[in-house]
Amino acid sequence: MTTLARSAVSRGITPGRVGLVAMLIAAYGLVPFVGSDYVLDALLTPFLALALAALGLNLLTGYAGLVSLGSSAFLAVGAYAAFNCNVRLQELPLLASIVAAGLVAAAVGIVFGLPSLRLRGFYLAVSTLAAQFFVQWALTKFGWFSNNNPSGVIDAPALTLSGLTFSSAVGRYVVSLTVVVVATLLAARLLRSQVGRNFIALRDHEIAAKVIGVPLLRTKLLAFGVSSFLIGIAGVLWAFAYLRTVEPAGFNLDRSFEILFIIIIGGPASIRGAFLGAAFMVVLPLLLSRLGAALLGDVFDSGVLEMSQRIVIGALIAGILIAEPRGLISLVDRLADRIRHRLSRPLRNPTQP
């Protein structure tokens, strides 16, 4: 074991993989059996959907350095595209609807990514607001998108994959988990390829990237496309597995900010950071609010508790970012390094000076 670890080319990969496999085993083998409906439906399913959305935005913002405030619009595009595939092409299996929704979101993302060819930083962020407002407006304005439902609210169909219907909390969780795992592995693979390195080159120095031959136009649009694809799929999970009903107003600017905050807090340019950030933003407020209600529920009404919980979360965010501007993931890595260092010191000292 120790020789293996020491001979590994890059330190940390092996324990990381072990951790990943252990987590997957727990997520598939343990959580569905011990998690209550509340944990699965109200905590884990939205966590998975938002983590995937954050991963999508992380490709764009964390890796390629293009700031976007339109994430929520792409969630909406994904959700409505899957709904329309489902209603209008009934023989299409759900899996195909999900992929198609991702592709539609990618197409919309590429269109709204065009300004990135000329704009950077804050200016680009502001121009992506256009996506946010345009998509919400179009979904409200044209009844076709919601199948002419007078109120514009759509009901998601049951999750049916190859004849099996996943209508329980466990079923919805397992479907979401599987989609997120597959999408995450694909994203991780992409980031290790030339495309991923182009993203980073683009982020670190655009002119230098151009000089060494990174095709700027293609890389930028690809970043928007892939990012929106993942966010679109997250939108399907959000609509079909979590809320099971969707209205355009649910995809507002607040949600875009939430996803942006997830990657800032979790750690930009890190896949694990997206998950950690999503856990922080989705699960922690709920735990805090439950804790507050259990301890002080008799003294204050829910409005006061809600406000104080926001203050606590705000303070935590500020504290974390001061302690570690590169996000929770750096904090965690540093901690893990220290522990590993301490554990391995007696072994390593003789061989490593």
Partner: protein, 442 residues
């Protein structure tokens, strides 16, 4: 990686521990409250849930509960957001003795329909909600009590007709509907068109994009259109802005008719002088002179258990709506208890109670609510219960009733509702109920 895992495990463990720590009580009926006391719609949330809780408190303090069954509740903050509402739903749904859900939010209600139908617990959407859920044959657990959006529309048109001197006088008149650019605002577009065809008035429907704090161009088009009436189908900040802008373009304020979500003190007070003379529809009168309000002031606020921080809001539109909602919930339990016994009821038994919630004006008077609301007559296939509406005018300090209790044109609306419900049933493979069967309770 390992640490992030243990963090998540700890979070999970904590959540499970919290979820499991539910108290067990005998003979209590529980109301899970998806309230909103912060956020943009807090004015409506605090008033409505304040009134609801005040009435539940009154029943507990004055009567010792409903036939000895104590009423309990727990609030979860939703901020009017669907996600938060569903979280509260998942958190509280396993509490023993859940009577009914009352989210006061169209979005949350829509998201809960298939969930509560599976759980067999009633969902009450007083004065709002999905219009076709009026059809109890298709939506056995959903109750848009007193007034659904279509009845509201019909009530408003009937009121305009009565001001003009009869339905035949509507011919050739012009009505503009100024609606909020949201699912809620758009829900009545088709029914206004139908009524315009029926009565022969000309109609223009103008959208105000959310949130509606800029309406100059809409009111300029209204001035060009020169309508006889403007119906304000607003929400939140859109309402005072509409009234102020109307004054600026010189549209007569008493020819603007507000719908049921544009009828509160919170809508008119910010508009100041511009709101004087504004008329709005309501299902419950405002004011604190009704006996039930007086008892709440004496018994509940006297004991220091009142829910409103600002006592000036006692008897306001939202507070009274909450009290009426409390009356309807409590009476449904009382009616169900007569059939099933004086004990904690299941959600399905409470559903039976709501389906037999028939309060005639005499019973309403006995409840101390004469004049607060008219009557309700819910049946297994009519979940709205034929609520009457009245119109109130703002005199600068308070609302004053300016009409009798008016009946919407239910016979005209019913076939439209049934058609829509039938489409829903087909889409969701729902077996349409054919009679008042208690077989549902199995």
């Amino acid at each position: 990686m390992l640490i992030s895992k243990s963090l998540r495990t700890a979070a999970l463990a904590a959540a499970i521990a919290f979820g499991a720590a539910l108290p067990v009580h005998a003979d209590e009926q529980f109301f899970p409250l998806q309230s909103y006391r912060v956020g943009p719609y807090a004015a409506g949330g605090t008033g409505f849930f304040g009134g609801f809780i005040d009435y539940l408190n009154l029943i507990n303090i004055r009567d010792g509960g409903v036939n000895g069954v104590k009423l309990t509740w727990e609030e979860g903050e939703t901020q009017y957001e669907v996600e938060r509402g569903l979280e509260v739903y998942e958190r509280l749904k396993n509490h023993p003795g859940v009577a009914a859900w009352n989210p006061l939010s169209v979005g949350i209600a829509y998201a809960m329909i298939d969930r509560i139908t599976k759980d067999k617990v009633p969902l009450i959407t007083i004065n709002h909600g999905r219009t076709d859920s009026t059809d109890g044959r298709v939506f056995p657990y959903v109750f848009p009590l007193l007034l659904n959006p279509y009845s509201e529309t019909s009530g408003i048109v009937n009121y305009i007709a009565s001001r003009e001197g009869g339905a035949d006088k509507l011919k050739g008149k012009k009505i503009v509907v100024l609606y909020h650019g949201s699912p809620y605002g758009k829900e009545t577009i088709p029914i206004y068109k139908l009524l315009a065809d029926k009565y022969g008035f000309s109609l223009e429907q103008i959208e105000v994009p959310h949130p509606g704090n800029e309406q100059q161009s809409q009111w300029l088009s209204i001035r060009r259109a020169k309508p006889d009436y403007v119906v304000l189908r607003g929400w939140g900040v859109m309402n005072p802005v509409a009234l102020k802008t109307a004054q600026k373009v010189g549209f007569p304020i008493d020819h603007i008719i507000g719908n049921v979500w544009s009828n509160s003190e919170e809508d008119v007070i910010p508009a100041g002088e511009a709101a004087k003379g504004y008329v709005a529809i309501t299902t419950q009168a405002s004011g604190a002179e009704f006996p039930v309000l007086q008892e709440i002031i004496k018994t509940v606020y006297g004991a220091g258990k009142g829910n409103l921080d600002d006592k000036k809001r006692i008897g306001s539109v939202y507070h009274n709506l909450g009290i009426v909602n409390g009356i309807l919930n409590v009476e449904a339990i009382r009616i169900a208890q007569q059939k099933f016994g004086k004990r904690t009821l299941t959600g399905d038994e409470v559903r039976w109670g709501f389906e037999h919630l028939q309060l005639d004006p005499t019973r309403v008077q006995a409840l101390g609510a004469k004049g607060l609301f008219h009557s309700i007559n819910v049946t297994w296939d009519n979940h709205e219960g034929d609520g009457r509406v009245t119109f109130q005018q703002w005199d600068g300090t308070k609302w004053k009733a300016v009409s009798d209790w008016i009946a919407p044109d239910w016979a005209f609306l019913r076939p439209i509702i049934e058609k829509s419900a039938a489409a829903y049933a087909a889409e969701h493979n729902i077996k349409v109920r054919t009679s008042d069967d208690t077989a549902l309770s199995q």
